[in-house]
Amino acid sequence: MNNPHHLNPTSLKSRFTTRFLRALTKIRAQKPISSSSPTEIFRRYRRIKVAADKSMAYSVRSRRIWSRAMLWKLRSRSYRRQDPCSGRRSGKTNQAIMKKSSNENTTTRREDGVGFVEEADELRQLVPGGETMNLCNLLDETAHYIKCLTTQVQLFSPIGKG
């Protein structure tokens, strides 16, 4: 069922698959599967999750708001880990960018006129980078985000069965 998608070299699924597999192999190469303590496992899980998120975001590039937000979050997190100063710097510039975009888009953010403020806020928290979007874009981003998440899930489920 998934194969026809994989045949298409430019589909989201194939892009994500290649990236993710690459990241996985890198992780596996880094650290042997010897750890059994929960800490180690969790750390490994974290790394995998980050790799998954990163590969997903990268395969979407910056075409989507949520992918941009996620990429920025990942980068700032990694910067923060390496060097606090640079993290601050990049965080500032990136935040300036995000705030600018939010200012542009916040003309109709709260004032929906449709009356879905609570749900919209909750959705904003769920979708990365959703705070800077008005309802219209939020719905758009949500659709794409759902599509990406389902892709991820579809790709994860066959892995690990073997």
């Binding site: 979050k73 888009n105 758009d140």
Partner: protein, 450 residues
């Protein structure tokens, strides 16, 4: 207001159906039939390729129509100051005519490949606010690509935004839906305007321009009046109906939101849209569910063989170096070795997780009851896997087994480390399509509501 508008009015007075004469004057091929048909170039070859189509359009239309248009414009410009009509009512007449004509061109000849060329041409022309012809031409030419609304905003948008944003704003001005096809994706026929995932930047800038543009009372008469559901009849004929730019903007936004909701509805499995609020709730739940699913799958399948609970804190006797991703449950659970999951996503993931974690601390039984009250249960991942791949038979014995043990349903894979390692809330659900879980997903361990 601005030179464009006046010239638009001039054009309108020229080309409105009530004044067929100027149109017929423009026709190099004489008058026959409706004036609409006349602008059809008889030499137009509907089966030509995209480039040929563009060439033909560019050659014929500008040569005959535009140049002829130019001349009659200047004299009537002074005469034409109809105060009654709002600014771009005129322009809309003109655009509609062109739209219908060019749409037929488009439908016949296929305009997919012409997008880039058209864009270039229009970009050059639209960026000059003092070129009403170009604006009209650009507007007219873009009509076939999307038969929508806010025509006026397109004339305004190049004035407002310079640079590359203007072209997209121009597209945006013609409506969000069909625009999706124009820019990046396959610019199909104008009928295909429902691209839920397309038109990212366009729609955003449209959202921005629409608010500002409407405020300039540009698209006062043009927009709305028709539902976006009919692709071919998107020519907005309601003029002067709603002159309030804010209401028009509101209506537009509502339409676009409705479009997006429809698209989302298709994605989300439970798609009985009774009302939008419940639909939104459904969407939210589904996103949470998917995020949880990804987390669980990545953790369980890839993070290690043993079932570890990233979502639920380990029992206190463990020393608490398990992480709690639900960040902030009981006080004793904060001894996170990695101390993270800082993102707000996890916090808001599920209140259920919080509750379950808290309850699990105290008493497994109450936790299980809480879960079952919600129609969920915990199960070890291996069993969940087995269930998902096999039929539902394994479910019952699993249930029985679980209830009779000390840690109901929490017996892990059999590694049996000394400290009870909890299994994760699995996310097998019918939507996964993993097997025969369709009706039974409700009882099985799933975070989705039954």
């Amino acid at each position: 207001m601005q030179p464009c508008s006046r010239e638009m009015q001039a054009m309108n007075s020229l080309l409105s159906p009530t004044q067929p004469i100027p149109l017929q004057d423009l026709q190099p091929n004489g008058n026959s039939g409706t004036h609409q048909a006349q602008i059809h170039n008889p030499q137009f070859d509907p089966t030509s390729s995209h480039d040929d189509f563009l060439d033909q359009m560019l050659s014929t239309l500008p040569s005959c129509s535009w140049s002829d248009l130019k001349s009659p414009w200047d004299p009537p410009k002074s005469d034409e100051t109809p105060p009654s009509n709002p600014d771009n009512n005129a322009g809309f007449h003109y655009d509609e005519i062109l739209a219908s004509k060019l749409r037929q061109h488009q439908i016949n000849g296929g305009g997919g490949g012409t997008t880039a060329a058209m864009k270039m041409m229009m970009q050059q022309q639209m960026l000059l606010p003092g070129r009403p012809i170009a604006a009209a031409g650009g507007g007219g030419l873009t009509m076939p690509l999307h038969n929508d609304i806010v025509d006026g905003s397109s004339f305004k948008s190049p004035n407002q935004q310079g640079g590359e944003g203007s072209v997209q704003a121009l597209y945006n001005g013609f409506g969000a839906g069909p625009l999706h096809g124009t820019n990046n994706q396959s610019p199909n026929q104008p009928q295909h305007f429902h691209h839920p995932q397309g038109g990212n930047m366009q729609t955003q800038s449209f959202g921005a321009t629409a608010g500002t543009v409407m405020n300039q009372s540009q698209a006062s008469g043009s927009t709305t009046g028709g539902t976006p559901a009919q692709p071919k009849q998107r020519v907005r004929a309601r003029r002067g109906q709603a002159t309030d730019p804010h209401s028009i903007a509101e209506r537009l936004r509502r339409e676009r939101i409705a479009e997006r909701m429809k698209a989302l509805q298709e994605l989300v499995p439970n798609a009985n849209k009774k009302d939008k609020a419940s639909m939104l709730d459904e969407i939210i739940d589904y996103v949470k569910f998917l995020q949880l699913q990804v987390k669980v799958l990545s953790m369980s399948r890839l993070g290690g063989a043993a079932a570890v609970a990233p979502l639920v804190a380990d029992m206190p006797p463990e020393g608490g170096d398990c992480v709690q991703t639900t960040a902030g449950g009981g006080g004793s659970l904060q001894r996170n070795s990695n101390g993270n999951q800082p993102s707000a996503n996890n916090d808001s993931l599920t209140v259920t997780e919080h509750q379950v974690a808290k309850l699990m601390e105290e008493d497994m039984g109450s936790a299980m009851q809480y879960l079952q009250g919600k129609g969920l249960c915990l199960m070890p991942i291996s069993l969940a896997t087995a269930i998902s791949t096999a039929t539902c038979h394994s479910r019952n014995p699993m249930m029985n087994k679980g209830s009779s043990s000390n840690h109901p349903l929490l017996q892990s894979n059999g590694d049996g480390p000394s400290s009870p390692s909890m299994s994760v809330l699995t996310v097998q659900s019918a939507t996964m399509g993993n097997g025969g879980l369709d009706g039974s997903a409700k009882d099985a361990a799933s975070v989705s509501k039954p």
